[in-house]
Every structure is written in C-alpha cells, then in structure tokens.
Symmetry: C2
Subunit: 141 residues, 2 copies
C-alpha cells in the first residue's frame, strides 16, 4: 500500500519546477542534484509528465524543462495517477480503471461487503490528493 519512488521523485521534481515557474527552465541534472534523484531515472519521469501535458521542454544548449500549467492547476492526484496508475486500493472500486474481480464470490451478487469499505477508502484518498495543489505545497516550504 505504498506509492512508488516514481511518484515521490516526480512530486519532488515538480516542487523544484514550481520555484522557477514563469522564469527560467531547469535542466534535468539541476533537478537531479538538488533532489538527490538518479538523472536517467528522473528523465523518464519528466518525459512522462511532459507527455501528460504538465511540462514543456527544450532541447539543445540552453534547453531544459519548465512547468506549462500553473501550480494551482496541478494536483497531487493528477501527478500520482500519471506516474503510479489509479488510486483505488482494489480495482473493483476504481473510478478511473474499474475491473470486475474474477474470483470473488460476491462479484455476482448485488453487493460485495469489501467493496463498500474499499470504496470509502478510495474516495477519502482521492478527496485529499485531488484537492492538494502544487501551489499549496510550495507555500508550506
């Protein structure tokens, strides 16, 4: 029941990028050094965030990465879903990636006792992470 390093690194990288938001770009090695993240691994993360539309990048000598969306418009939930997949603790309660459980005897019945509890957990997690924005994050620094 843990988040991956990918999510953690991704969030920490975004924190750095928030600080130069609107200003200069950051290169991967700058972010990597400041946040103690292996450069090549960080790269994969930054690219994923770019593909998801959070970052822009420029190649070449004065290249680097920069935030493309305002820190107020980026939530922890978004970032974690990009890097770690759905938030739901079991897939039969996921809203973004629902899957019927194959082996559960309750799957056929009208209601599964586990589903209710897990649904509540899912909602609680999503409620927090989808309302936490990067800006709120940076302020508490």
């Amino acid at each position: 029941m843990k988040f991956s390093k990918k999510s953690e690194y991704g969030l920490r990288a975004l924190l750095e990028l928030c600080e130069t938001y609107g200003g200069r770009v950051l290169q991967r090695h700058e972010i990597a050094e400041r946040q103690n993240i292996p450069v090549e691994f960080l790269e994969q993360i930054l690219l994923a965030l770019k593909r998801a539309g959070l970052l822009a990048s420029r190649r070449g000598v004065r290249g680097g990465y920069s935030l493309i969306k305002s820190p107020e418009d980026i939530t922890l939930g978004q970032v974690i879903r990009i890097l770690d997949g759905p938030l739901a603790p079991i897939s039969c309660v996921s809203k973004t990636a629902y899957q019927k459980c194959a082996d559960c005897p309750y799957a056929a019945k009208p209601s599964c006792p586990l589903q209710q509890a897990m649904g509540e957990v899912r909602d609680a997690i999503a409620n927090i992470l989808d309302h936490y924005t990067l800006s709120r994050f940076a302020h508490s620094k």
Copy 2:
C-alpha cells in the same frame, strides 16, 4: 497503491469464519472452495492470522480454524496491517513503521511539504479501516 491479494483473501476468509463464529470450525479447503482461493496460499494467510492472535486452529481429523476474537473486535485495519504491512503511503509518515527518508532533501529541514499531504492520506485511510469491524462487514452481506 494497491492492497495485495493476501489482504483480500485474508479478509474474505475471515468473512467465512465470522459466519461460523461460536459454532463449528472451518477447514482450509472449505474456505478455499467457497472463496475461490488456492488452498496452500490460503494456509499461509490463515497461519499469519493465527500468529497474530485472531484465529485458533486444531489439527487432526476434526481439525480446522475458528475465530478467537469477536467479529466486533477485529478491524479491517488490523487485518491489512498483519498481511500487508503498514498503511502509510510513504514510510516517513507511518505511525507503526516510521523511517526517515534517506535521500529527501527536506528530511533535514523542519518540515517536508510532501509529509503533510501524505500524513493526511495516512490518517484518512487509517480512520476508515480502523473503524470498520468484521461484524459491520458481515451484516451488509
């Protein structure tokens, strides 16, 4: 960010055991069949739950497993922690298994921005799972 099959199977096995609570014992193959769980895998789970003090077992011909605690006194949180480890999404916010992050640059500083958010998530999860008892579970069946 998912619970393991172990937890899921464990909870479903406990549901079965709730139904015969106070009455007869259940053998592993009975539970396994009704809940579609591989017997030998289930066994490991039952043993873990036994070591944790939730179940009693008897060997031999009329052997089997039975609940040793009342369903009202067993919470989902307990069970999941036994089978899956701590609930915290990152270990620096775990109450049952705290660990300082080795590489995080905020670890040294008074406050880590990630920690606050993750702490809230941890509390939310624990709040739900530690108040959900097996009895509440069985009733909604």
